[in-house]
Symmetry: C2
Subunit: 348 residues, 2 copies
């Protein structure tokens, strides 16, 4: 039986119901926390080398990325900080066109965090990693005093390898390319905001937090020529388009009616005065590719549940260098402006 099956923490909770400063001090309590919680959950994938893990690689390039996660609350509809920390980093690797092979996990724990909760969030990380077939191979544990953290912050870094050439990136974007959107937008940010602020929403909103590795691999295996991939995290679809426009030097045109938004998200966003294209997602991406591959790519995306609602959402313009244009259902276009960014704090 896997330790994940029973969902019982192997640490003696009656002795240490909460994390103590000593759990980060380098002595016997820290050794036990690592052995009985992190190593028990992460299993054989976690190498017992205390310095650095050894990874087998193929090819002469690896992809390398990092993200810290400070979401509050630690658990929210559709996910938690553990699964989010895995999805966020494997998705960054997937967006580089790489196959994730290993993750690291750095925990900054606030003194007093319930040990059972730490266990549950660690199990969630492991399950999310198992879903994409990646091991958590190395880690680090720090404990800070009460009032110097907020329960738990997690950093994950990731290493991936490339099985396909060329590697997608903004410089490959060309005028006339099509922009595919993998699904409805705005769920992660609104789900976290609603539960955090105790707002009743008409209809349930669950985070879209999910791994994007499988649909990207299917696109690559189908021989689709990918010019750029970008996940729609902080700043949402709007920020992703803005970055691609800036980095490619081309204009981006988005057809607003081709952007799926669920009714509960649309309603909640309207109340708050946000446009859902600015709201963070954790399981959505855009793919920029030649027009000739657009139909095939849409068909491939729709074979995966995570991207079954994919749409042809826009195109790359020959003019309007560095700008994003939004076309509304009446055919009018306007220029996108980015907010300065303070309205959506700590959603990832």
């Amino acid at each position: 039986m896997s330790v994940l099956d029973g969902l019982t923490c192997p640490l003696p909770l009656e002795d240490y119901p909460r994390v103590l400063p000593a759990h980060g001090g380098g002595g016997t309590l820290m050794h036990r926390l690592i052995r009985d919680l992190f190593a028990a959950v992460f299993g054989e994938g976690l190498q017992d080398r205390t310095d650095a893990a050894l990874l087998a690689v193929t090819g002469d390039r690896v992809a390398f990325t990092t993200d810290s996660f400070v979401v509050t609350p630690l658990e929210f509809p559709g996910g938690d900080i553990g699964s989010l920390a895995v999805h966020g980093t494997v998705n960054d690797l997937a967006m580089a066109g790489a196959r994730p092979i290993a993750l690291s996990a750095g925990f900054i724990i606030e003194e007093g965090l319930e040990m059972e909760r730490l266990w549950r969030l660690t199990v969630s990380m492991k399950r999310a990693a198992d879903e994409v077939g990646v091991n958590i191979v190395t880690g680090d544990t720090k404990v800070v005093e009460r009032g110097k953290g907020d329960g738990l912050y997690i950093n994950t870094a990731g290493v991936g390898v490339f099985d396909h050439d060329p590697i997608p990136g903004p410089s490959a974007i060309e005028p006339g390319d099509r922009i595919l959107l993998s699904g409805d937008v705005g769920r992660h940010g609104t789900a976290v905001l609603a539960v955090r602020d105790g707002i009743n929403v008409a209809g349930d909103i669950e985070s879209d937090s999910a791994p994007l590795v499988a649909p990207v691999r299917s696109l690559l295996e189908a021989g689709v020529e990918l010019h750029a991939l970008r996940d729609l995290t902080r700043g949402g679809l709007a920020s992703a388009l803005y970055e691609l426009a800036r980095d490619s030097g081309h204009g981006m045109l988005l057809n607003e009616e081709a952007v799926p938004v669920s009714d509960p998200v649309a309603g909640f966003a309207e109340i708050l005065g946000f446009d859902p294209i600015h709201i963070a997602n954790e399981g959505r991406f855009i793919a920029v590719l030649p027009e000739r591959d657009a139909e095939k790519a849409l068909t491939v995306l729709k074979t995966h549940p995570v991207s079954e609602k994919a749409t042809l959402a826009g195109e790359v313009l020959a003019g309007e260098a560095g700008r994003v244009l939004l076309r509304n259902p009446y055919g009018t276009t306007r220029i996108l402006t980015l907010p300065s960014g303070e309205q959506l704090m700590r959603i990832c």
Copy 2:
């Protein structure tokens, strides 16, 4: 002129003297912070890909490690959280026998941190990375509210490659091996404690924080057969020996008189009731190797300033499996016991 030379922050400090929540929100303020501070300092090494950096690798294995840094205060005699975050991670790669090729940097900033201080600490990271010839290639920025952090936490992950075989590790340790210690112990932990608690120490104590890449490479290039390397961080020399004994299944004998301790560290440790062998270092390591290579290795270590006070400090025992024995100057031995760990919080 490098931006490092002038030591002036390119961000307009009069507009944003302190970090705001919006600096982590995914909007224009975050983009500007990344461009005008992090990218300006980290320079061309920081890839402008927003998903994952691409690294050129040689061989079919890479080393991968991570550490989060929560030291308080952020600046201390002999270093700061920025240089420490680089030294800690490149040293973990060096201890694996790997040559560091890239670092990531994940910042968790507490709202209100002085922007000029963030700039200074970032410059310190860059200088430490330059010293070992490694680039900071990818990063992440999060901002948490006042009272949910402590100024700044930094996570660094590192990737390295192997130029030499075999890769050292505890399973290679054999009875009769010699244990070399690269220098005096106890400086980092006492330096941080003294400044944090405002304790006057007789004589200056500076942290030993430093990169260990060069002496390890010299050992490898000299053809020394390295059975194990371990840096003496949290838990100090005692914890490192304990881990090697546990992981190798052999006993470790340490001659206490062969452990250099400076007078100020010895005096301060005595007042506090700590044994310096339990205190964290950030620029010291032990090397376990065959007796026949011990003299050569000592000679090599002494050619580097960071390890010029290296000593032959102990040996691996045939019996006493998993134990560490301490032999005092009078020839009496006792068994080492590890503290539970609460006395030295947030020193790294």
